[in-house]
Amino acid sequence: MYDGGKIVAGLVVFLAVVTSPIWYNVVAGKAEYRPDPKIVSQEKQCVAPKAWMTAMHMTLLNSWRDSVVREDNRVYVAANGKTYNMSLSKTCMQCHPNKSEFCDRCHNYASVNPYCWDCHVEPKEKK
Protein backbone atom coordinates (compact mmCIF):
# COMPACT_ATOMS: atom_id res chain seq x y z
CA MET A 1 0.00 0.00 0.00
CA TYR A 2 0.98 3.63 -0.49
CA ASP A 3 0.43 6.49 1.94
CA GLY A 4 0.69 9.13 -0.77
CA GLY A 5 -2.84 10.40 -0.27
CA LYS A 6 -2.30 11.27 3.38
CA ILE A 7 1.09 12.83 2.63
CA VAL A 8 -0.31 15.03 -0.14
CA ALA A 9 -3.15 16.11 2.17
CA GLY A 10 -0.53 17.08 4.78
CA LEU A 11 1.45 18.96 2.16
CA VAL A 12 -1.64 20.90 1.09
CA VAL A 13 -2.29 21.90 4.73
CA PHE A 14 1.35 22.95 5.09
CA LEU A 15 1.26 25.08 1.93
CA ALA A 16 -2.01 26.69 3.08
CA VAL A 17 -0.44 27.59 6.44
CA VAL A 18 2.75 28.97 4.89
CA THR A 19 0.83 31.12 2.42
CA SER A 20 -1.83 32.12 4.99
CA PRO A 21 -0.72 35.80 5.12
CA ILE A 22 -1.51 36.08 1.40
CA TRP A 23 -5.04 34.72 1.87
CA TYR A 24 -5.55 36.74 5.04
CA ASN A 25 -4.73 39.96 3.23
CA VAL A 26 -6.87 39.01 0.24
CA VAL A 27 -9.84 38.53 2.57
CA ALA A 28 -9.08 41.59 4.73
CA GLY A 29 -8.40 43.67 1.61
CA LYS A 30 -6.20 46.21 3.38
CA ALA A 31 -2.82 45.33 1.94
CA GLU A 32 -2.56 48.75 0.32
CA TYR A 33 -3.29 50.67 3.56
CA ARG A 34 -0.59 53.08 4.67
CA PRO A 35 -0.74 54.86 8.03
CA ASP A 36 -0.81 58.63 7.83
CA PRO A 37 -0.25 60.19 11.25
CA LYS A 38 -1.88 63.60 11.34
CA ILE A 39 0.03 66.51 12.84
CA VAL A 40 -2.34 69.26 13.96
CA SER A 41 0.20 71.48 15.72
CA GLN A 42 1.20 74.93 14.48
CA GLU A 43 4.69 74.45 15.93
CA LYS A 44 7.36 73.91 13.32
CA GLN A 45 9.74 71.83 15.38
CA CYS A 46 9.30 68.96 17.84
CA VAL A 47 11.76 68.61 20.74
CA ALA A 48 14.08 66.85 18.29
CA PRO A 49 14.21 66.42 14.49
CA LYS A 50 11.40 64.40 12.97
CA ALA A 51 13.49 61.46 11.75
CA TRP A 52 15.06 61.06 15.19
CA MET A 53 11.67 61.33 16.88
CA THR A 54 10.17 58.70 14.59
CA ALA A 55 12.84 56.22 15.55
CA MET A 56 13.59 57.17 19.14
CA HIS A 57 10.48 58.78 20.70
CA MET A 58 9.88 55.72 22.90
CA THR A 59 13.40 55.93 24.29
CA LEU A 60 13.01 59.65 24.90
CA LEU A 61 9.68 59.17 26.68
CA ASN A 62 11.17 56.39 28.77
CA SER A 63 14.07 58.58 29.84
CA TRP A 64 11.61 61.42 30.61
CA ARG A 65 9.60 59.03 32.74
CA ASP A 66 12.71 57.94 34.65
CA SER A 67 13.88 61.53 35.03
CA VAL A 68 10.56 62.79 36.39
CA VAL A 69 9.53 59.83 38.52
CA ARG A 70 12.90 58.81 39.90
CA GLU A 71 14.97 62.00 39.84
CA ASP A 72 12.31 64.69 40.20
CA ASN A 73 13.77 66.52 37.22
CA ARG A 74 11.19 67.97 34.84
CA VAL A 75 13.40 70.15 32.66
CA TYR A 76 14.47 68.78 29.30
CA VAL A 77 17.16 70.70 27.44
CA ALA A 78 16.87 70.04 23.72
CA ALA A 79 19.82 69.85 21.37
CA ASN A 80 19.14 73.41 20.22
CA GLY A 81 19.25 74.72 23.80
CA LYS A 82 15.51 75.15 24.17
CA THR A 83 14.02 73.86 27.41
CA TYR A 84 10.84 71.84 27.71
CA ASN A 85 8.72 70.61 30.56
CA MET A 86 9.03 66.84 30.63
CA SER A 87 5.39 65.85 30.51
CA LEU A 88 3.54 63.52 28.22
CA SER A 89 0.17 65.12 28.90
CA LYS A 90 1.28 68.73 29.01
CA THR A 91 4.10 68.90 26.45
CA CYS A 92 3.64 66.08 23.96
CA MET A 93 -0.14 66.07 23.95
CA GLN A 94 -0.15 69.89 23.64
CA CYS A 95 0.89 69.59 20.03
CA HIS A 96 -0.43 66.07 19.45
CA PRO A 97 -3.78 65.95 21.23
CA ASN A 98 -5.20 63.67 18.56
CA LYS A 99 -4.10 60.30 19.93
CA SER A 100 -6.29 58.26 17.61
CA GLU A 101 -5.09 60.10 14.53
CA PHE A 102 -1.45 60.51 15.54
CA CYS A 103 -0.13 57.90 17.99
CA ASP A 104 -2.53 55.09 17.18
CA ARG A 105 -2.17 55.11 13.42
CA CYS A 106 1.41 53.86 13.31
CA HIS A 107 1.11 51.92 16.56
CA ASN A 108 -1.88 49.97 15.28
CA TYR A 109 -0.22 49.41 11.92
CA ALA A 110 2.94 48.03 13.53
CA SER A 111 1.06 46.36 16.40
CA VAL A 112 2.76 48.37 19.13
CA ASN A 113 0.90 48.61 22.44
CA PRO A 114 2.78 51.01 24.69
CA TYR A 115 1.63 51.13 28.28
CA CYS A 116 1.54 54.94 28.48
CA TRP A 117 -2.16 54.89 29.24
CA ASP A 118 -1.89 52.41 32.09
CA CYS A 119 -0.96 55.44 34.26
CA HIS A 120 -1.79 58.52 32.19
CA VAL A 121 -5.34 59.54 31.46
CA GLU A 122 -6.16 59.25 27.81
CA PRO A 123 -6.90 62.66 26.29
CA LYS A 124 -10.50 63.36 25.46
CA GLU A 125 -10.68 64.02 21.77
CA LYS A 126 -13.15 66.08 19.87
CA LYS A 127 -15.11 63.81 17.63
Partner: protein, 336 residues
Protein backbone atom coordinates in the same frame (compact mmCIF):
# COMPACT_ATOMS: atom_id res chain seq x y z
CA UNK B 1 37.66 24.25 10.33
CA UNK B 2 34.10 23.22 9.47
CA UNK B 3 32.82 25.82 11.91
CA UNK B 4 35.04 28.49 10.35
CA UNK B 5 33.77 27.72 6.84
CA UNK B 6 30.21 28.14 8.11
CA UNK B 7 31.05 31.33 9.99
CA UNK B 8 32.79 32.82 6.95
CA UNK B 9 29.80 31.91 4.80
CA UNK B 10 27.39 33.73 7.11
CA UNK B 11 29.66 36.77 7.44
CA UNK B 12 30.06 36.86 3.66
CA UNK B 13 26.28 36.77 3.24
CA UNK B 14 25.91 39.65 5.70
CA UNK B 15 28.54 41.68 3.87
CA UNK B 16 26.89 40.90 0.55
CA UNK B 17 23.57 42.29 1.73
CA UNK B 18 25.22 45.26 3.46
CA UNK B 19 27.39 46.26 0.51
CA UNK B 20 24.62 45.52 -1.97
CA UNK B 21 22.26 47.92 -0.26
CA UNK B 22 24.61 50.57 1.11
CA UNK B 23 27.00 51.01 -1.82
CA UNK B 24 25.51 49.36 -4.91
CA UNK B 25 21.96 50.55 -4.14
CA UNK B 26 20.45 47.15 -4.94
CA UNK B 27 17.40 47.68 -2.71
CA UNK B 28 15.03 46.22 -5.28
CA UNK B 29 17.15 43.09 -5.58
CA UNK B 30 17.39 42.53 -1.82
CA UNK B 31 13.94 43.89 -0.95
CA UNK B 32 11.83 42.18 -3.61
CA UNK B 33 13.58 39.82 -6.03
CA UNK B 34 15.55 37.81 -3.47
CA UNK B 35 12.56 37.34 -1.09
CA UNK B 36 10.31 36.14 -3.93
CA UNK B 37 13.01 33.81 -5.22
CA UNK B 38 13.73 32.45 -1.73
CA UNK B 39 10.08 31.75 -0.91
CA UNK B 40 9.57 30.13 -4.33
CA UNK B 41 12.58 27.89 -3.79
CA UNK B 42 11.25 27.01 -0.34
CA UNK B 43 7.72 26.14 -1.46
CA UNK B 44 8.74 24.27 -4.61
CA UNK B 45 11.70 22.57 -2.94
CA UNK B 46 9.79 21.34 0.10
CA UNK B 47 6.86 20.21 -2.08
CA UNK B 48 9.23 18.35 -4.40
CA UNK B 49 10.90 16.61 -1.48
CA UNK B 50 7.61 15.61 0.14
CA UNK B 51 6.02 14.46 -3.13
CA UNK B 52 9.07 12.34 -3.82
CA UNK B 53 8.70 10.74 -0.41
CA UNK B 54 4.99 10.22 -1.07
CA UNK B 55 5.74 7.94 -4.03
CA UNK B 56 7.59 5.45 -1.83
CA UNK B 57 5.57 2.29 -1.23
CA UNK B 58 4.75 1.18 2.31
CA UNK B 59 4.78 -2.63 2.17
CA UNK B 60 4.87 -3.30 5.86
CA UNK B 61 4.62 -1.56 9.20
CA UNK B 62 8.14 -1.07 10.52
CA UNK B 63 7.22 0.69 13.76
CA UNK B 64 9.92 0.94 16.39
CA UNK B 65 8.25 0.33 19.71
CA UNK B 66 9.29 0.50 23.32
CA UNK B 67 6.20 -0.89 25.01
CA UNK B 68 3.89 -3.87 25.10
CA UNK B 69 1.93 -4.44 21.91
CA UNK B 70 -1.83 -4.83 22.14
CA UNK B 71 -2.57 -8.54 22.18
CA UNK B 72 -4.67 -10.55 24.61
CA UNK B 73 -7.12 -8.58 26.75
CA UNK B 74 -5.48 -9.58 30.04
CA UNK B 75 -2.03 -8.38 28.96
CA UNK B 76 -1.72 -4.69 29.68
CA UNK B 77 -0.65 -2.89 26.52
CA UNK B 78 1.03 0.45 26.22
CA UNK B 79 -0.69 2.15 23.27
CA UNK B 80 1.51 5.24 23.17
CA UNK B 81 4.72 3.23 23.00
CA UNK B 82 3.28 0.63 20.65
CA UNK B 83 0.25 2.20 18.96
CA UNK B 84 -2.22 -0.33 17.62
CA UNK B 85 -4.31 2.06 15.56
CA UNK B 86 -4.05 5.33 13.71
CA UNK B 87 -5.30 7.45 16.61
CA UNK B 88 -2.53 6.33 18.95
CA UNK B 89 0.02 6.56 16.14
CA UNK B 90 -1.11 10.17 15.61
CA UNK B 91 -0.88 10.86 19.35
CA UNK B 92 2.60 9.42 19.48
CA UNK B 93 3.57 11.54 16.48
CA UNK B 94 2.09 14.62 18.15
CA UNK B 95 4.21 14.01 21.24
CA UNK B 96 7.25 13.51 19.04
CA UNK B 97 6.65 16.70 17.05
CA UNK B 98 5.51 18.90 19.94
CA UNK B 99 7.67 17.57 22.78
CA UNK B 100 10.65 15.89 21.02
CA UNK B 101 10.02 12.75 23.04
CA UNK B 102 12.64 10.60 21.32
CA UNK B 103 15.24 13.31 21.88
CA UNK B 104 14.27 13.39 25.55
CA UNK B 105 15.12 9.71 25.77
CA UNK B 106 18.35 10.19 23.91
CA UNK B 107 21.24 9.11 26.09
CA UNK B 108 24.83 10.13 26.35
CA UNK B 109 27.57 7.52 26.64
CA UNK B 110 30.66 8.21 28.66
CA UNK B 111 33.42 6.30 30.42
CA UNK B 112 33.44 6.41 34.20
CA UNK B 113 36.30 5.17 36.38
CA UNK B 114 35.57 1.76 37.85
CA UNK B 115 38.23 -0.32 39.58
CA UNK B 116 36.41 -3.60 39.07
CA UNK B 117 36.22 -3.28 35.28
CA UNK B 118 38.94 -4.17 32.80
CA UNK B 119 40.97 -1.07 32.03
CA UNK B 120 39.63 0.65 35.12
CA UNK B 121 36.71 2.18 33.27
CA UNK B 122 33.18 1.26 32.41
CA UNK B 123 30.56 2.63 30.06
CA UNK B 124 27.79 4.67 31.67
CA UNK B 125 24.66 5.93 29.98
CA UNK B 126 23.27 9.20 31.22
CA UNK B 127 20.50 11.54 30.21
CA UNK B 128 21.13 14.14 27.55
CA UNK B 129 18.66 16.47 29.18
CA UNK B 130 20.22 19.76 28.12
CA UNK B 131 20.29 18.86 24.44
CA UNK B 132 16.55 18.23 24.64
CA UNK B 133 15.95 21.38 26.65
CA UNK B 134 18.03 23.53 24.30
CA UNK B 135 16.35 22.09 21.22
CA UNK B 136 12.87 22.54 22.69
CA UNK B 137 13.57 26.09 23.85
CA UNK B 138 15.05 27.03 20.48
CA UNK B 139 12.18 25.57 18.43
CA UNK B 140 9.41 27.09 20.51
CA UNK B 141 11.07 30.49 20.69
CA UNK B 142 11.54 30.39 16.93
CA UNK B 143 7.85 29.59 16.49
CA UNK B 144 6.75 32.44 18.76
CA UNK B 145 9.16 34.86 17.08
CA UNK B 146 7.85 33.82 13.66
CA UNK B 147 4.24 34.28 14.79
CA UNK B 148 5.08 37.68 16.32
CA UNK B 149 6.42 38.70 12.91
CA UNK B 150 2.89 38.34 11.55
CA UNK B 151 2.50 41.98 12.57
CA UNK B 152 4.44 42.71 9.39
CA UNK B 153 2.46 40.29 7.25
CA UNK B 154 -1.14 41.11 8.14
CA UNK B 155 -3.29 44.26 8.09
CA UNK B 156 -5.24 44.60 10.32
CA UNK B 157 -2.79 42.78 12.56
CA UNK B 158 -4.02 39.25 13.23
CA UNK B 159 -5.45 38.68 16.71
CA UNK B 160 -2.76 36.41 18.18
CA UNK B 161 0.08 38.88 17.66
CA UNK B 162 -0.85 41.30 20.51
CA UNK B 163 -1.48 38.32 22.80
CA UNK B 164 1.95 36.87 22.08
CA UNK B 165 3.58 40.29 22.41
CA UNK B 166 2.00 40.84 25.82
CA UNK B 167 3.03 37.40 27.07
CA UNK B 168 6.48 37.63 25.54
CA UNK B 169 7.10 41.12 26.91
CA UNK B 170 5.52 40.23 30.24
CA UNK B 171 8.34 41.67 32.34
CA UNK B 172 8.05 45.10 30.69
CA UNK B 173 11.77 45.77 30.80
CA UNK B 174 12.80 48.92 28.97
CA UNK B 175 11.31 50.51 25.90
CA UNK B 176 10.73 48.88 23.46
CA UNK B 177 9.94 46.06 25.89
CA UNK B 178 12.39 43.18 25.95
CA UNK B 179 10.98 39.96 24.53
CA UNK B 180 11.91 36.85 26.48
CA UNK B 181 11.90 34.68 23.38
CA UNK B 182 14.64 36.74 21.76
CA UNK B 183 16.98 36.17 24.70
CA UNK B 184 16.07 32.51 25.15
CA UNK B 185 16.48 31.95 21.41
CA UNK B 186 20.03 33.31 21.40
CA UNK B 187 20.88 31.39 24.58
CA UNK B 188 19.49 28.12 23.22
CA UNK B 189 21.14 28.40 19.79
CA UNK B 190 24.34 29.48 21.54
CA UNK B 191 24.17 26.38 23.72
CA UNK B 192 23.56 24.12 20.71
CA UNK B 193 26.60 25.71 19.05
CA UNK B 194 28.84 25.46 22.12
CA UNK B 195 27.79 21.84 22.50
CA UNK B 196 29.23 21.13 19.06
CA UNK B 197 32.48 22.81 20.08
CA UNK B 198 32.89 21.43 23.55
CA UNK B 199 31.92 17.77 23.16
CA UNK B 200 34.76 15.98 21.29
CA UNK B 201 32.53 13.27 19.84
CA UNK B 202 29.96 15.74 18.60
CA UNK B 203 32.68 18.01 17.24
CA UNK B 204 34.17 15.06 15.33
CA UNK B 205 30.91 14.38 13.46
CA UNK B 206 29.96 18.04 12.94
CA UNK B 207 30.09 19.26 9.37
CA UNK B 208 29.99 22.77 7.96
CA UNK B 209 26.33 22.03 7.19
CA UNK B 210 25.74 21.57 10.93
CA UNK B 211 27.36 24.85 11.91
CA UNK B 212 25.98 26.93 9.06
CA UNK B 213 22.32 26.96 10.19
CA UNK B 214 23.39 27.77 13.75
CA UNK B 215 25.50 30.74 12.67
CA UNK B 216 22.76 31.80 10.28
CA UNK B 217 20.16 31.72 13.07
CA UNK B 218 22.47 33.68 15.37
CA UNK B 219 22.94 36.21 12.56
CA UNK B 220 19.19 36.52 12.06
CA UNK B 221 18.49 36.83 15.78
CA UNK B 222 21.39 39.24 16.27
CA UNK B 223 20.34 41.54 13.44
CA UNK B 224 16.74 41.43 14.64
CA UNK B 225 17.68 42.29 18.22
CA UNK B 226 19.96 45.11 17.06
CA UNK B 227 17.13 46.51 14.94
CA UNK B 228 14.60 46.39 17.72
CA UNK B 229 16.64 47.72 20.62
CA UNK B 230 19.67 49.58 19.30
CA UNK B 231 19.90 50.73 15.68
CA UNK B 232 16.34 51.55 14.81
CA UNK B 233 14.87 50.96 11.39
CA UNK B 234 11.64 52.49 10.19
CA UNK B 235 9.14 49.82 11.20
CA UNK B 236 6.26 51.38 9.27
CA UNK B 237 8.29 51.33 6.07
CA UNK B 238 9.37 47.77 6.76
CA UNK B 239 5.74 46.77 7.00
CA UNK B 240 4.95 48.67 3.80
CA UNK B 241 7.65 46.64 2.06
CA UNK B 242 6.40 43.34 3.48
CA UNK B 243 2.76 44.11 2.70
CA UNK B 244 3.79 45.03 -0.84
CA UNK B 245 5.52 41.69 -1.22
CA UNK B 246 2.56 39.77 0.21
CA UNK B 247 0.03 41.65 -1.94
CA UNK B 248 2.22 41.11 -5.05
CA UNK B 249 2.62 44.87 -5.52
CA UNK B 250 6.25 45.13 -4.40
CA UNK B 251 7.30 48.57 -3.24
CA UNK B 252 10.73 49.28 -1.84
CA UNK B 253 10.51 52.41 0.34
CA UNK B 254 13.65 54.50 0.78
CA UNK B 255 15.45 54.92 4.07
CA UNK B 256 14.71 51.66 5.84
CA UNK B 257 18.31 51.06 6.88
CA UNK B 258 20.76 48.43 5.70
CA UNK B 259 20.47 46.41 8.93
CA UNK B 260 16.97 45.42 7.85
CA UNK B 261 18.23 44.21 4.49
CA UNK B 262 20.90 42.12 6.22
CA UNK B 263 18.19 40.58 8.40
CA UNK B 264 15.86 39.98 5.45
CA UNK B 265 18.62 38.52 3.30
CA UNK B 266 19.72 36.08 6.01
CA UNK B 267 16.09 35.00 6.46
CA UNK B 268 15.83 34.52 2.69
CA UNK B 269 18.97 32.40 2.72
CA UNK B 270 17.57 30.31 5.59
CA UNK B 271 14.26 29.84 3.81
CA UNK B 272 15.87 28.91 0.49
CA UNK B 273 18.36 26.63 2.26
CA UNK B 274 15.57 24.56 3.83
CA UNK B 275 14.84 22.00 1.10
CA UNK B 276 18.53 21.31 0.45
CA UNK B 277 19.65 20.72 3.99
CA UNK B 278 19.00 18.99 7.26
CA UNK B 279 16.46 21.70 8.00
CA UNK B 280 13.96 19.77 5.88
CA UNK B 281 13.43 17.63 8.98
CA UNK B 282 10.56 20.09 9.46
CA UNK B 283 8.71 18.03 6.83
CA UNK B 284 10.64 14.81 7.31
CA UNK B 285 9.72 14.34 10.96
CA UNK B 286 6.13 13.64 9.88
CA UNK B 287 7.35 10.96 7.51
CA UNK B 288 9.52 9.02 9.96
CA UNK B 289 8.55 5.50 8.87
CA UNK B 290 9.29 3.90 12.22
CA UNK B 291 7.13 6.41 14.09
CA UNK B 292 4.14 7.37 11.96
CA UNK B 293 2.63 3.91 11.52
CA UNK B 294 0.46 1.82 13.78
CA UNK B 295 2.00 -1.43 14.96
CA UNK B 296 -0.77 -3.66 13.57
CA UNK B 297 1.12 -6.20 11.49
CA UNK B 298 -0.42 -9.04 13.49
CA UNK B 299 -3.96 -7.65 13.32
CA UNK B 300 -4.09 -6.64 9.65
CA UNK B 301 -2.66 -8.08 6.48
CA UNK B 302 -0.46 -5.64 4.59
CA UNK B 303 -0.10 -6.40 0.91
CA UNK B 304 3.17 -5.50 -0.68
CA UNK B 305 2.26 -2.97 -3.39
CA UNK B 306 4.94 -4.14 -5.81
CA UNK B 307 3.72 -7.74 -5.81
CA UNK B 308 3.06 -8.73 -9.42
CA UNK B 309 0.46 -11.40 -10.28
CA UNK B 310 2.27 -14.76 -10.08
CA UNK B 311 1.25 -17.39 -12.64
CA UNK B 312 0.54 -20.40 -10.42
CA UNK B 313 -0.33 -23.93 -11.37
CA UNK B 314 -2.45 -25.28 -8.51
CA UNK B 315 -2.80 -28.97 -7.58
CA UNK B 316 -6.43 -28.89 -8.73
CA UNK B 317 -5.36 -27.78 -12.20
CA UNK B 318 -2.57 -30.38 -12.29
CA UNK B 319 -4.94 -33.16 -11.22
CA UNK B 320 -7.41 -32.07 -13.89
CA UNK B 321 -4.68 -32.11 -16.52
CA UNK B 322 -3.40 -35.63 -15.70
CA UNK B 323 -6.72 -37.06 -14.53
CA UNK B 324 -6.73 -39.92 -17.06
CA UNK B 325 -3.19 -40.99 -16.29
CA UNK B 326 -3.79 -40.85 -12.54
CA UNK B 327 -6.90 -43.03 -12.87
CA UNK B 328 -5.05 -45.40 -15.15
CA UNK B 329 -2.25 -45.73 -12.60
CA UNK B 330 -4.84 -46.35 -9.87
CA UNK B 331 -3.88 -43.30 -7.82
CA UNK B 332 -6.50 -41.66 -5.61
CA UNK B 333 -7.97 -38.34 -6.76
CA UNK B 334 -8.89 -35.41 -4.49
CA UNK B 335 -12.04 -34.70 -6.45
CA UNK B 336 -13.18 -38.28 -6.41
Amino acid sequence: MNALYALFAVVALMLLAFLGVSTADLNVLFGAIVPYAAVSVFLIGVSYRVLKWATVPVPFRITTVCGQEKSLPWIKSSPLESPHNGVYAALRMALEVLAFRSLFRNTRISLAPDEKSIGGKRIVYSSNFFLWLGALAFHYCFLIILLRHFRFFTEPVVFFVPLLQDLDGFFQVGVPGVYMTGLIFVAAVGYLLLRRFSNPQVRYISLAADYFPLFLLLGIAGSGILMRYFFKVDVVKVKELMMGLIGFHPVVPDGIGSLFYIHLFLVCVLVAYFPFSKLVHMAGIFLSPTRNMANDNRAHRHINPWNYPVDVHTYEDWEEEFKDKLIAAGLPLDKG
